[in-house]
Symmetry: C2
Subunit: 354 residues, 2 copies
DNA sequence: ATTAGCACTCTCGTTTAACGAGTGCTAACA
DNA sequence: TGTTAGCACTCGTTAAACGAGAGTGCTAAT
């Protein structure tokens, strides 16, 4: 059942060639380009066996062979070697990400841009889910007699705010009191927890003015919490795929683009994936059965986990792309490490960058 | 030089037919469908004249006629009549926009979604430029000993904030003092003004601790101001265009999608357009020479101006779409009117909705 | 000024044929 | 027994040829 050494060599050669040229590869061209010391006829026999085992397919009788999802899977798991990034790519990543280290969302977006530029594929990046973040304080700030700002700050420094307009004026005292009450009630609890337990009643409605204000503020409070939970998703390089031969058909291209119009759905899918570099090939995806999806995770303060990813046809340079993504996520995690908490994390990075 | 009544009728018929069917229209079908009381031969002669005047073109000798940009321009300026929206569309707009009146960005995004659903074209919506907004106050809030939140609030209730991590700890006093100083320095000035005049020095650096903190905060302050100036752009329904016959060619589709990948550029273009319902057809656009762009403006508090727009091929239902956009922007402007400031604005709305 | 008639043009879909790439099989060979 | 050369066969791709259909442009009649 296992593949012979020669079969592996041939399979590798076919994959390499097909990834490069996007055309079914024949026995003769394999024999010529990669000298395996055997004739086309022998290769043909091996190919036939490989096909029977499900590693190759045949568009039609008289065409060359094309690697199947199973072949790519074998390649990713066993055959491929880690690639060293080109000096140019390394420089690009270092330069472009260091430009805005202190600004979180911007950096994430840059990472997505970078990734699509280097890989020439469609890419995305998303900010970490903050379900486990805990609330630090809640502030209500006055704008004018009917307008106020509701602001929620988490222990980790995440901020979200909403501007609301009330139908009736409020007093500064009520505002301060409500801020304080809410902070006391919610401080230290996780966003998820607060949002799920709909305990709106215990914010203390002893004073009448407060009760009215509370009634107006609470719905917005919940919505703002939801906003805070929402991860931001940045997509880049969608149009890159138009340059690939697998998307010259308008239907394929349409299907591809439509995937990304459903941002919420896409976000959910991506959040559900495991951490680390994860590759799912073709049929392994429940939707997008002719795509490969590669995701990788980065850390913020060593805890929160965000994701970046690349989407393309199953025919892609798995070795290069996974290496790039590993380098990139290590770089990101390092950027987002708290100044204080240096240590073992860095050592790990070093090793992987090699 | 002016067109005869009959020529106008024929032109109108051709446009109507072509917009509907997307195929060059011949003299015979015009004569049959729209009874103008003349024979195909007569229509042929008129068509020939219209072509000479630049209103029609000829894909090739033996094909029907196609309206030129000039024809559409004439149609938009003179021929088309305002359309009444269907009850269904009206209901849709009213329902969907009223769902979230108090949340600004969300409403804008919904408007874009709505627009693309109703028109079956690509659409966008952007929040108003806030160049003229004035600063109300600046607040620095502590998160932990090295992390703080910088928050800028405008008189109109716009909020933007950035979380920053300092390399050295700060004191609460320094924070409060700097907040106050900055507010005093900048309150009442427009964002644009503050950003352009790089007067960073006059924020009072008398105390030493303050001076250090200020040095860390100011760069972020400027960047945050820039963020505040940036309008948000929401695009929706990009993939709708794949269903149109003019975009069955992959190259066309690619060009179209690429326009929208350049968000910054696109935003600039759109900001430069006049207020009200503006239609630019084909060659009238400097880029996108085979597209028509229709934009309309809505108001916030009767002052700030935001834009929504629709992009499609020059072949589109100008009458319907402009009417929809007028209705939609009136609805938006009404939603975003300050509760206090009712009055003449509403009367105007009523008239236009009719 | 309008219209009928007709030749002419051009596109589009279909058919046919030739070509080439590549396989699969058989038989010869080490 | 594994490897190889040779060859027939398959199938997709391309180009050319052809007919049908749609629509114009022109001319001559009304």
């Amino acid at each position: 059942m296992d593949l012979s050494e020669r079969q592996l060599q041939i399979l590798q050669a076919i994959i390499t060639d097909y990834v490069e040229n996007a055309e079914p590869v024949g026995s003769r061209s394999i024999a010529k380009k990669y000298d395996l010391g055997v004739s086309p006829a022998t290769i043909r026999n091996e190919m036939s066996d490989l096909e029977e085992m499900g590693y190759l397919t045949h568009p039609h009788t008289s065409a060359g062979r094309v690697p199947s999802d199973k072949a790519y899977r074998l390649y990713v798991n066993e055959l491929m070697k880690k690639k060293n990034l080109s000096a140019k790519d390394k420089r690009m990543i270092n330069d472009r990400l260091s430009a805005s280290r202190d600004e979180f969302d911007r950096t994430i977006r840059h990472a997505a841009e970078l990734l699509s530029e280097i890989t020439h594929l469609a890419s995305f990046a998303m900010t970490p889910a903050t379900n486990e973040e805990t609330i630090s304080f809640i502030k209500l700030l006055p704008v004018d007699e009917r307008t106020l700002i509701l602001m929620i700050v988490s222990e980790g420094g995440q901020v979200t705010n909403t501007t609301l307009r009330l139908t009736v004026p409020y007093t500064q005292e009520a505002l301060d009191l409500l801020s304080k009450n809410m902070t006391v009630s919610y401080k230290g609890r996780t966003l998820d927890d607060v949002l799920r337990s709909e305990i709106i009643h215990d914010v203390g409605s002893d004073i009448e003015a407060l009760s009215a204000l509370k009634g107006s503020v609470m719905p917005s409070f919940l919505r703002t919490l939801e906003d805070m939970l929402n991860v931001n998703l940045y997509m880049e390089g969608m149009t890159n795929i138009f340059n690939l031969p697998e998307y010259t058909s308008i239907d394929r291209a349409r299907d591809f683009m439509e995937l990304f119009a459903r941002k919420d759905w896409f976000t959910q899918k991506m959040l559900a994936r495991d951490n680390g570099v994860v590759v799912t090939i073709g049929e392994e995806n429940d939707t997008m059965k002719d795509c490969t999806l590669i995701t990788a995770t980065y850390h913020v303060d060593g805890k929160l986990v965000g994701k970046i990813g690349v989407i393309g046809p199953t025919r892609m340079k798995y070795d290069e792309i996974t290496s790039i993504m590993e380098y990139l996520t290590n770089n990101l995690s390092e950027s987002f490490r708290l100044p204080g908490s240096t240590g073992d994390g860095n050592a790990g990075d070093k090793k992987q960058k090699k």
